[in-house]
């Protein structure tokens, strides 16, 4: 088992579609999400937010609020103590603790509308609201900047006096809004352009979009008089919440227990903290549990989103359609603090293609917007929008089929990526071939419609994970996972354990543990859980099998080498012994007499994650009177290695595609002249609803299982949001009759483009 993965045909549970272990709680309303906890004596916490896009905080007077009957605590940034600061691993990579803290409660400056400046805890929501009004904040309003190009300009208002662009030699003398300049590439780009048969170029932009999880951020924090605290919250990582709370409040990790609630969607946006340190600071001040739940408006104003981007791209190619060089500049909004995923945009932009000469330059740019958070394949969809649009232009110019040009240029095993990895276990080309053969692509485009195609890539990661497998006395099994289950991962954990143990899935349950009940784990993100935590589950289950075999051998007084584990029972292969197999149940019931409880916990740092590739086809039509685009048919293909639970894998493809369609067609942060957000509600921030979408067909390509995972799994969650932006835009551009370069392709924008034409 441990060397190489098992063949698909022998599998009994993996690849099936059982009901998830936590399913009934989710369909009956019993599942406890972040806002569902209630403790005796619990207070309501509320947060006062800046009305200004950019302002110096001169003074915060909390005295009147503190004097109000029912107010038990008031907190400001002064209540945080980040000590040495340092960094923690969050959704988009290393994040400075001081900046996370200053995002939770402002320090000195309010950097965007909605930036938290103070918080209260009171005995009722009404008193908390009244107390917020009584907090007097004196602001010196400063000039603001929202647009990324304007933020780069020489005369732009500077957000941080101590921000000097990294990656520029010599170090700049003056602070600016450009946090990082990233440069990567290879080969001779000018030479390749000089020798090119054909070139295409374009200037592209995408809007900031929110992850849009339906569950607003929520937590309850309870500080104990002995310094030991408990936090219940909805997050993608209980250990990450613990680390950030500890660092922001200068507490030992072991004094904070974080209990993961069910999580109502995250998509990367819950790989950081907004409320937990605030609730804990308030609870520390008054000794009572404090619950804080964001409103939807607060979610839009002060959490997420991901970067809007401005990109320039040039491609050089031969007459046959082989891309010989690419040059690309990417400017990503970071929001109020450095940390856009622009480096990931650069790394992923051409990861689907074998391009010999590459020059990529990225700029991480701060402006008076909420600090960006990770969003599903952070940085990749925007870059892919530009790349896949440019490739579409190239195909048109050369009269090539859009799938053929991608097959011609597609990466294959052994090729080198610009970021240093060698391509392996990659089914990109097979996937494109399957997509081309699919009935959708074989069906001619209907009159009045257009068809767009685009591809996408995501790294997928491994990393630190823990898992335990406990055998109950009656032979049932509990799997303890270390990762919040954001989309059905308990099902895949239970299935992998059942497969290794040879048990029916109904005998295996799975739970997600708090920070004190299982070893450390990285967050649920990077499409890593089924790969990395799944690997830990498999190893724990394998150890249990070894233990069970040992106990059977002892029972039979035979050599363990003569014991095999088959279909959930120990079988003796010693021909001299005439014994019946010992079932899991039989062995478990005797565990006290054969060495005690049967259990195993495994903690690993999983290496060998395999990258994921996707390609989508989108057919759509446009109402020429309103400019409204309707997607009429959609197919998503993906190289998934092996699907552990195919329904949930399909669900990732369908959900990612739907989010990408929203990104392409409707979603955007709209700012007014004062730098305030005009559309902080679901009514005005238009996410796709059921009537906006068709069925989304899926193709799970399983020709290249990942040999580094026991069952061949590759991460699947992030890839599917990468192709849709360009798949949609490529189709819209055909109908409009010109290249559509700015997202979203809202009715107004499409109508204007058609009228201009």
């Amino acid at each position: 088992m441990s060397d190489g993965n098992q063949g698909g045909s022998k599998l009994k549970v993996v690849g099936q579609r059982p009901v998830r272990p936590d399913g009934v709680d989710k369909v009956t309303g019993r599942a406890m999400f972040g806002a569902d906890f209630h403790l005796p004596g619990m207070l309501t916490g509320r947060i006062k937010r800046s009305p200004h896009a950019h302002a110096r905080i001169i003074r915060i007077d909390t005295s009147a609020a503190e004097a109000l009957a029912g107010v038990k605590a008031v907190a400001t940034g002064a209540d945080f103590d980040t000590g040495a600061g340092g960094e923690v691993e969050a959704g988009e990579g290393a994040t400075a603790v001081k900046e996370v803290a200053a995002n939770c409660l402002a320090m000195g400056k309010a950097l965007y509308q909605g930036h938290a400046v103070a918080a209260v805890a009171a005995t009722s929501p009404e008193i908390a609201a009244e107390a917020l009004d009584l907090i007097e904040v004196t602001y010196e309003v400063l000039p603001h900047v929202i647009d990324v190009e304007e933020a780069i300009a020489a005369n732009a208002p500077v957000l941080h006096d101590d921000l000097f662009t990294t990656g520029v030699t010599p170090k700049p003398a003056k602070p600016s809004n450009v946090a990082v300049k990233t440069v990567m590439g290879r080969g001779d780009v000018p030479g390749a352009f000089a020798a090119a048969d054909v070139t295409v170029e374009g200037h592209y932009s995408t809007a900031a979009v929110h992850q849009g999880y339906i569950e607003p951020h929520a937590c309850v924090a309870s500080f104990g008089a002995d310094g030991q605290s408990v936090v219940w919250c909805s997050s993608q990582g209980q250990f990450l919440v613990r680390a950030l709370c500890a660092k922001i409040l200068n507490m030992p990790l072991s004094d904070i227990k974080v209990i993961p609630a069910e999580i109502g969607g995250g998509f990367g946006g819950k790989t950081t903290v907004y409320l937990e340190p605030v609730a804990l600071a308030l609870s520390r001040k008054c000794g009572r549990p404090v619950k804080i739940v964001m409103s939807r408006e607060e979610v839009f104003l002060a959490s997420g989103p991901t970067s809007g981007a401005v990109m320039d791209i040039k491609l050089a190619a031969t007459e046959a359609g082989k891309i010989t060089a690419a040059e690309m500049t990417l400017k990503y909004q970071a929001g109020a603090f450095p940390g856009s995923p622009v480096h990931l945009g650069c790394m992923t932009a051409f990861a689907c293609y074998d391009v010999e000469n590459l020059a990529l330059t990225g700029y991480d740019v701060v402006s008076n917007r909420p600090k960006v958070a990770a969003y599903r394949a952070p940085g990749a969809p925007m870059a892919a929008f530009a790349v896949e649009s440019a490739i579409d232009d190239l195909a048109k110019k050369l009269g090539m089929d859009p799938i053929d040009i991608r097959i011609l240029n597609g990466v294959r095993d052994g090729m080198k990526t610009v970021y240093g990895a060698t391509v392996r276990s990659c089914a990109f080309v097979e996937m494109l071939e399957q997509l081309k053969a699919h009935p959708h692509y074989q069906t001619p485009v209907a009159a009045g419609q257009a068809r767009g195609v685009a591809a996408g890539f995501w790294f997928n990661i491994g990393g630190e994970s823990s898992a335990a497998v406990h055998v109950d006395e009656d032979g049932g099994v509990t799997v303890v996972s270390s990762n919040p289950d954001i989309g059905g991962s308990r099902a895949s954990m239970a299935m992998m354990a059942a497969e290794v143990l040879g048990l029916p899935i109904e005998k295996v349950r799975c739970t997600v543990a708090d920070t004190t009940s299982i070893g450390f784990s990285g967050s649920t993100g990077g499409s890593r859980v089924t790969f990395a935590t799944g690997m830990a589950v498999c190893q724990a289950a394998e150890k249990v099998v070894v233990d069970l075999k040992r106990r059977a051998a002892a029972t039979w007084e035979c050599d363990i080498a003569n014991v095999e584990w088959r279909d959930g029972a120990a079988v003796c292969t010693d021909p001299a012994k005439d014994v019946k197999p010992l079932s899991m149940k039989a062995l478990a019931s005797k565990s006290a007499k054969t060495g005690g409880p049967i259990a195993s916990e495994v903690s690993i740092n999983a290496q060998g994650a395999a990258a994921g590739y996707g390609a989508h086809i989108c057919d759509l039509q446009i109402d020429r009177e309103t400019g409204r685009t309707t997607v009429v048919r959609y197919t998503a293909a993906q190289d998934v290695g092996r699907a552990i639970h195919p329904s949930y894998v399909e669900g990732q493809l369908q959900g990612g595609a739907a989010q990408g369609v929203g990104w392409a067609l409707n979603e955007e942060y709209v700012y007014g002249p004062k730098g305030t957000l005009d559309n902080a509600s679901f009514l005005d921030y238009r996410m796709p609803v059921a009537s906006d979408l068709p069925m989304i067909d899926t193709i799970l390509v399983e020709t290249k299982p990942n040999p580094r995972h026991p069952f061949g799994a590759k991460g699947v969650g992030e890839v599917p949001i990468v192709p849709p932006l360009a798949a949609v835009a490529n189709a819209v551009s055909q109908i409009v009759g010109k290249r559509m370069t700015s997202l979203p392709l809202s009715p107004a924008r499409v109508l204007a483009a058609m009228e201009e034409k």
């Binding site: 369909v27 999400f33 999580i263 739940v293 959900g655 009514l683 059921a690 979408l693």
Partner: protein, 161 residues
């Protein structure tokens, strides 16, 4: 805050509670009755996570004041299961994997049941438009719509017209 006594029938059982004058029915269900299956996703009637049925009519409980529930019959997700049996919609959602995070699921189920109570044989388009008030960010709606259509078929067989 002035509080008023409110008498209702929730999931078939008479219930009395003290609710605030400005409190939403959703907050009353969640905070006073601890029926936390109904969720707040937006508080503005846009997402449908708080869907309940009041006197046979599907409403966003975040948009209704608690005192307005006086004398009304309210059905929430907690009342959908019959005894220890899941409703066919609940079962079909599970079998189709029509949920990922599960946060919007109670609202989707309550809304879907309200649809099937009115229209036992909806088309795909009818399902999509009826559920347009229930946002789901995880699934892309494909499996949700299939689950509702299959539940409708199952219910039609159970209770022929």
């Amino acid at each position: 805050m002035s509080r008023v006594r409110i008498s209702t029938i929730v999931n078939g059982e008479p219930v009395e509670f003290l609710g605030g004058g400005g409190q939403s029915l959703l907050d009353a269900l969640r905070d006073e009755l601890r029926l936390t299956g109904s969720k707040e996703g937006c508080g503005t009637g846009d997402c449908g996570a708080c869907s309940v049925v009041v006197d046979g009519r599907l409403v966003c409980s975040c948009l209704m004041l608690a005192p307005e529930a006086e004398g009304k019959r309210i059905e929430t997700i907690e009342g959908m299961q019959e005894g220890s049996e899941l409703h066919p919609l609940q079962r079909q959602f599970l079998e189709h994997a029509a949920l990922q995070c599960g946060f919007c699921t109670p609202g989707l189920l309550v809304a879907s049941k309200a649809l099937l109570d009115r229209n036992p044989d909806p088309s795909e388009t009818e399902v999509r438009y009826w559920l347009a008030g229930n946002m789901c960010r995880c699934t892309g709606y494909d499996k949700v719509v299939r689950a509702v259509l299959d539940a409708a078929a199952e219910l039609r067989q159970e209770r022929p017209r």
